[in-house]
Structure formats: C-alpha cells, structure tokens
C-alpha cells in the first residue's frame, strides 16, 4: 500500500476515529475550562481595578488644586513600574501636570472607570490599554487616573502558555495512541477478514483467529466461530441427506427401470403389460415414501420444530397410539396391552411423540409373529418419565442393535416385511430434537425400545415459566 492509502485506511478505522474523538473532546473541555478561568479572573480583576480607580479619583479630587499637583507628582515619582496613569488637563484639554500629553480619546468625563488607550510620556511602547477614570474638578480642570491592565495581559499569557505546554502534547499523544491502537486492531481485522473470505469461498472448516486476551472482540469472535460450527454441522447433515437420497433411491429406481425395460423388450400381451405398469406405479409410490420419510427426518433434525413444545401426558400419547394400532394387532391375533394407568407428565411436541410411539408400535406389530404380544407402557422410570414398547418377537441380535437406529438399516431376517427402514431413524431424530434418550434392550425374548422423556437442561430452559 502507498503511504496515502495507509492514511486513508487509518482515517476510515473506527478505533482511530474513536481515539481522535476522545482527544478532541478532552482538548475542547480543557480549552473551555481555561477560558472560563481566564474570563472569571479578568472580570474580577477589572472590577477590582475599576473600584480602586474610582475611589482614588474621588480621594484626589477632594484636595485643593495645589495639593493635587503635588500628589500627582509624588505618585508618578514612586511609580517605578510605570503602571499608573496620572494627569491633570485644563478646561481646554491641554495637559497641566502628569504623565499624559494627550487626553485619552473617547474617555467619558463621568468619574467612572472605562477602558481607554493612553500614550504615557516617557514610555517607548506607544499607546497601551488601560482602565481610566476622568473626573472634572470644581475649577473646571479634568483629573485622569488610570492603570495599565498588565495583570490581565499576564494572565492571558499564562493561559496560552498552559495550552501550549499541556494541550498540544496531549493532543499529539492521543493521535499517536489512536494510530497505534487502530493499527493493531486493523491488523487483527485484516486477519479476520481474510479468514471470513476463505470461509465464504467454501472452506466451511475455517475459523476466525482468536487473539487470546479474552477481550470483547475475542468473545465476539468465539460466538461467530460457534455459529460457524453450527452452520458446518447443518451443511454436513444436509449433505448426508442428499447422499442418502441419491444412494437409496437408486436401488428401487433401478428395479423399476429393469422391470419396464424387460416388459418393453418382451412379448407380453396387454393384460401382462398392465400388470407391469401397476407394479411400476407401486414401485414409484415406494420411492416417493422414501423421499417423504427422508425429508421428514431432515425437517425434524433441522431442529426448527420446537414451536409446538408444551406439556404432554405420555399416558395419553400411548392411549392414542393404542387405539390406532389395536385393530392391526387384532388382525394378527396379537395381544396388544397398554399399561398406562396414571398420567405421566413430560414436556415436548405431542404430535411428534405420537408419531415416534406409532412408529415403534408399527415396528413391534410388524415383527412380532401372529399370536405374539406387544406391550405399550407409560411410567415414571428411574431416569424420569418414559415410554416403553416391548414385544416378544424375534428380537434384535446385540451386534445389530446399534445399526438399527441408523438410516435404512433392515435386519436380514426382516426382508420379507414391507417398510423402508426409516421408522427407527425417525424415532431417533424425534428423540434427539427433544434431547430424550432412546434405548434398545433385549427383552428375552423379543426387544424393548425405551424413550426416556426426562427434562433436559435445554427443555427446562425452553419450558414455561422461563
């Protein structure tokens, strides 16, 4: 960068501007303070001089003319610093005695003190500012008594000097400090900007550097980094959903394509072709069901569905699912029991929990053979309120228990049962959204799924009364 660009960048820096503004504020305050002190002192000093002069004039004027002349003479003689103006003019304005040769221009002859310009004889400095009183004596002469205002001049000089010695260095220091500070901040911001640039170009794993001082900028940076973590996680999830869709739709689509291709190449008659078409539509419906289920899981996992959270009675949820599946179990001559005698309060989305329990029961009725039994339980467990779905079906081998909760897993022995293998991952997604634990145990025989609906810190924070 050229030096002028550096300067321009400095001028745009917020820290630099803040530093300058603070220095400016300080200087203006100091200036006002000094000006006030000067003004107050000057007013006081002038009033004091004026009163003194007026009193002197009265005192001198009381003397007889001869004594006045002598008094003037004496006073001039002792005025070594030449601060006094003392003179007597005749009625025509000619000087009679004293250190003035010309009557001060414009000085009113009224016995009160006024500012005036006077040329003191014997003083090489020419006309100087004085406070002076002109008073007419009984004989018609005019007595002028005045005093230079050198104290005020001195005071002004002191104030200006204070400004020079105090204010200028402070201002210069402030500018220097602001420059230094803003250069440091600019340097950091440049690094942050570079990091953000890399992230915007697609490097979602990049993070903004933290300086480590724990200051406000660091805290802000940490929040932004936290946000980036979350964005990265969501993008990864989206990508995973995309991969799943791509992977798991290809199989049914391939099947469908092969069927249609064979029908086209073969010599099947109208009736057989209609059967192929009907089968193809069923295949399409199945792929559509997979897409719907995947999108539903993604929708739940996106974590935006907490608006409907509220108090839920798990026993009521179980009763509803029992009512829904009782005829299904009846058809398979399964014994379908519900054990939920008392309300079991929890906090969550009633519709989603119903969906989760329905999926578990759907699974249980499907995999339990005809004549078996399925139990639906809502109770206060040792970990908190929970829902259990227990069956005496074939169970799930220990090696497969982890895998059944992942997407599309279907135990080998379940290939003959219709389904898309997404039911349990949907339940797992609903459990994650609620921060509920979701376990699978051996029920020997059969298996037991447990949804522990204990209030997590998150749920407590989002719950009513907070």
């Amino acid at each position: 960068m050229l030096p002028t660009e550096h300067l321009a960048a400095l001028g745009r820096s917020a820290t630099f501007r803040l530093g300058l503004r603070m220095a400016g504020t300080f200087c203006v305050t100091a200036l006002l303070l000094l000006a006030f002190i000067y003004w107050q002192t000057a007013v006081y000093e002038t009033a004091r001089i004026d009163a003194f002069l007026a009193a002197e004039a009265v005192e001198v004027a009381q003397e007889d003319p001869l004594r006045i002349l002598r008094e003037l003479h004496r006073r001039i003689a002792v005025d070594l610093h030449r601060v006094n103006v003392l003179a007597l003019f005749d009625p025509a304005g000619r000087p009679v005695e004293g250190n003035l040769t010309v009557f001060p221009v414009g000085l009113p002859i009224d016995g009160a003190a006024h500012p005036a310009e006077a040329i003191v004889s014997g003083d090489p400095g020419g006309a100087q500012s004085v406070r002076a009183v002109a008073r007419r004596l009984p004989g018609g002469d005019v007595l002028v008594i005045g005093r230079t205002v050198y104290e005020l001049v001195q005071l002004r000089r002191t104030v200006l000097r204070a400004l020079e010695l105090g204010l200028l260095p402070v201002a210069a220091l402030s500018v220097a400090a602001a420059t230094l500070l803003s250069l440091r901040v600019q340097d950091h911001i440049k690094r942050v900007n570079a990091a953000i640039g890399r992230i915007m170009q697609g490097d979602l794993r990049g993070r903004i550097p933290v300086r480590g001082g724990g200051d406000d900028i660091d805290r802000l940076t940490e929040s932004v980094n936290g946000m980036l973590d979350e964005i990265e996680r969501l993008v990864a999830e989206l990508r995973a959903v995309g991969d799943n869709i791509a992977h798991d739709l290809r199989t049914p689509l391939a099947r469908l394509r092969a069927r249609l291709e064979r029908a086209l190449a073969g010599t099947a008659d109208g009736v057989a072709l209609r059967a192929v078409i009907a089968r193809a539509i069923l295949d399409l419906d199945q792929t559509q069901a997979i897409i719907t289920a995947l999108l539903r899981i993604a929708e739940i996992e996106a974590g935006q569905r907490r608006a409907a959270f509220g108090p839920v009675d798990l026993a009521a949820v179980c009763a509803e699912v029992h009512e829904l599946y009782a005829p299904v179990a009846e058809l398979k001559r399964q014994q379908f029991l519900i054990l939920a005698p008392a309300p079991v309060p929890a906090y969550g989305d009633a519709d989603l929990l119903t969906e989760a329990v329905a999926n578990l029961v759907d699974n249980a009725t499907k995999f339990t053979p005809d004549g078996g039994s399925v139990q639906l339980i809502a109770e206060h467990g040792s970990d908190g309120p929970c829902i259990r779905v227990r069956d005496d079906g074939p169970g799930i081998p220990p090696a497969e228990r982890e895998a059944v909760l992942t997407r599309f897993h279907r135990a080998d022995r379940s290939r003959h049962v219709p389904g898309n293998g997404l039911g349990l991952s949907l339940v797992a997604a609903i459990a994650r959204l609620h921060h509920f634990a979701f376990h699978l145990h051996d029920a020997g025989p059969g298996c037991e799924f447990t949804l522990v609906c204990a209030a997590s810190p998150f749920v407590a924070a989002a719950g009513p009364g907070h």
């Binding site: 419906d285 999108l295 829904l324 329905a358």
Partner: protein, 226 residues
C-alpha cells in the same frame, strides 16, 4: 358434478395429464402456464375451482392466492406443490388455500380432492344421518341398521360420520388420516384399511350388502346400492 376448473401449472406435460384426467371426470379445465396469466384468469366468477402450483414463473402461487383472497375472490383453491414440509402446507392453507397436495400426486387422489372441494359435506339439522338401511344417531353416537343397535368406538363413529356425510364420494386414505385422525404423518402399515375393515364388519351382518366400498388403489366410498 361437472365444474369449471382453472389449472395453473408451469410443467406443460404434467398440466396436460392432470387436465385430461379431470376432463375424463366431466370437468372443463382451463390451463395457465405461469403466475401472471393465471392471476389474470383466476378472478373469473364463473370458475368453480383453482388448482395452483406453488412455484410458478412470474408470480408465486402463494402470492397469487393471497392477492385473490384480499381482492375478495373466494373460489376454492387447491395447492399442488413439490414443497411438502409441514411448514409449506401450513403456509399454503394460511395464504387462503383450501387444500394442499404434495407432488407427485396420484391422479385419483387429485380427482378425489377436487370432488371434495366442489361438494360440501352434508349438513343436517336433524340428529340422525341416514344412508340407505343405515342410520347414525349423532346424539347417542350409535349406528342402527335393520333395527340392530351397533355400538361404535369414538374413532369408529367419527370415521362413519365422515363417510356418511360424503355419500357417493370417493374418500382417500390420506383424507381420512388428515381429517379423522388429524395425523400429519403417513404410517407404513395399511392402518386406514384395517380400521375401515373393522368398521365394515361391525356394520354388515351376514348376508347384508356392504355400504362402505373399497375403491382399488385410492380409498373408500359410502354408497347405497339397491
């Protein structure tokens, strides 16, 4: 019940198939390929129904219906969209849509929904719904057939009431799940069939004609055959 339908859909092939299916049901269908042309036609008071895609060129389907509703046009509107999340559905109904279907839509489902929007369910001041030999007592919540009193579970009663208020009208499984069970998810098991089957067995004694008929691949219809 033939109706005049405006179909606003930008995919020409899909629009043609949908229109042909609806025309085969006796409806007259006008096509509009984009938002602005659809909006221009939709205010026609002669129209009985609008079928609107959500993502349309020129003007979003949601905005189109919102605009129509705010200008006082109350023609029933059916959204047909590729956006199928619950939020999308809710947004569609809030914008003034009367029903919402997610693509791909079975043509039979489309026809059933169109039918449902064109006909109003039976409203009666009487406390008994009648359909042929069957009477449904809305106060006592029991069905009576050939002087037999048939006790019904609460959900069975709702299911039967829903069907009887729509005589001779095809009702799909999804409509039943949405309107009778208020579920927003589709179970993998053929739950609706099981429930309807159980209800049918309760209503039909040996030798009696069935009143609830299955419509293959679509759903059910309450029909009294003599």
């Amino acid at each position: 019940m033939p109706a005049l339908i405006l179909l606003i859909e930008d995919d020409a092939d899909l629009a043609a198939e949908m229109a042909a299916h609806l025309q085969a049901q006796g409806h007259a269908v006008t096509l509009a390929p984009d938002g602005p042309s659809g909006a221009a036609l939709a205010a026609d008071p002669m129209l009985n129904l609008l079928i609107v895609d959500r993502l349309l060129p020129g003007l979003d389907g949601l905005a189109l219906i919102e605009r129509l509703r705010s200008s006082g046009v109350r023609t029933p509107a059916l959204f047909v969209s590729a956006l199928g999340a619950l939020d999308d559905r809710v947004r569609g109904l809030r914008a003034g849509g009367d029903d919402y279907l997610t693509k791909p839509v079975a043509l039979a489902e489309l026809a059933a929904r169109v039918d449902a929007l064109l006909r109003r369910p039976l409203e009666t001041r009487e406390t008994v719904l009648r359909g042929g030999p069957l009477a449904l007592d809305l106060i006592d919540r029991v069905a009576i057939r050939a002087s037999r009193r048939i006790e019904l579970l609460p959900r069975e009663f709702k299911l039967l009431e829903y069907l009887m208020r729509r005589p001779n009208q095809v009702v799909t499984r999804e409509m039943l799940l949405e309107d009778v069970w208020h579920y927003r998810f589709v179970p993998t098991t053929n739950l609706v069939d099981v429930h309807v089957g159980k209800l049918r067995r309760k209503l039909d004694a040996a030798g009696e004609a069935s009143l609830i008929h299955s419509v293959r691949g679509i759903g059910f219809v309450f029909r009294v055959t003599d």
